[in-house]
């Protein structure tokens, strides 16, 4: 029997979960455009499958499970197009890599090993969880300043706040994040 234990407010989904899902997707598909599309598809699929949500997991966990399936579909789609793609693939312009398929160059070119890459992905998601705990407006302004690296003036105009207000918001956000990461990341 169905019990309406959990009420979903889909109008809050984008503000609450879009960045977390985007982070999750981008670290797996390495393409911001594709990641954005996957997040959009996840929300649409979630909306259509809302009646299946029993409230046993959090909304975020449930949306992540949908996103995971979308990512698998994306990989399968990419693999099914592989044969066609190879015909159109170009060589690297760099002479020392001539002859390498573009496909082989997808791997991260930095010297990071698999373990540190995994740790960075986890850290990215841990940061995102801490960001979710901030008030929506505060998180938005902080992200614009810190992640999107937008100019102070631009953010102030957009939110109709003074530079002093902005720095107070940034300060509060940083203090809360430091505490959250200290509790959730460094102690584990």
């Amino acid at each position: 029997m169905e019990s309406p234990k959990h009420k979903i407010d889909t109008t809050q989904w984008v503000d609450r979960y879009a960045d977390y899902l985007f982070n999750y997707a981008i670290t797996r598909v390495n393409d911001s455009y594709v990641a954005e599309e996957l997040v959009q598809e996840t929300f649409v699929a979630g909306l259509k499958a809302m009646k299946n949500f029993k409230g046993e997991a959090t909304e975020r966990t449930w949306l992540i499970s949908i996103l995971k399936r979308k990512i698998i579909d994306q990989y399968q789609k990419a693999n099914s197009k592989k044969g066609q793609a190879e015909v159109r693939m170009d060589y690297s312009t760099s002479s020392d890599r001539e002859g390498d398929w573009l496909e082989e160059q997808v791997e991260d070119s930095t010297t990071m090993n698999a373990e540190s890459r995994l740790e960075n992905k986890e850290l990215g998601l841990a940061i995102e969880i801490c960001l979710e705990k901030l008030p929506v407006k505060q998180a938005e302004i902080f992200k614009q300043k810190t992640i999107l690296e937008q100019e102070t003036d631009t953010i102030c105009k957009e939110h109709d706040i003074t530079a002093s207000n902005l720095w107070v918001i940034i300060h509060r956000a940083r203090v809360q994040l430091m505490k959250c990461l200290e509790d959730d990341w460094f102690k584990n």
Partner: protein
Amino acid sequence: MKNKLFISCEEAAHRIDKAQYGETTFWEKLSFNFHNLYCSHCKVYAAINKRLTLLFKSGDVHCLTREQKSKMKEKLADTASSS
């Protein structure tokens, strides 16, 4: 703002935050460094704050812009109204 060498912890914290975004002036840096000489509390705050900045740089954190989110909201609203 009048330049002064002795600043309060509140002002120092403000400068530490601004420094994370490379937005401090020469004088602000100087007065903050001077403040750090005698204030261990702010010194700790500066160290933790710097660590947070490094975490953001190493944590591979991404986010969507306001425009991208607006489009998503519109699409979601359209889907909700059509279903």
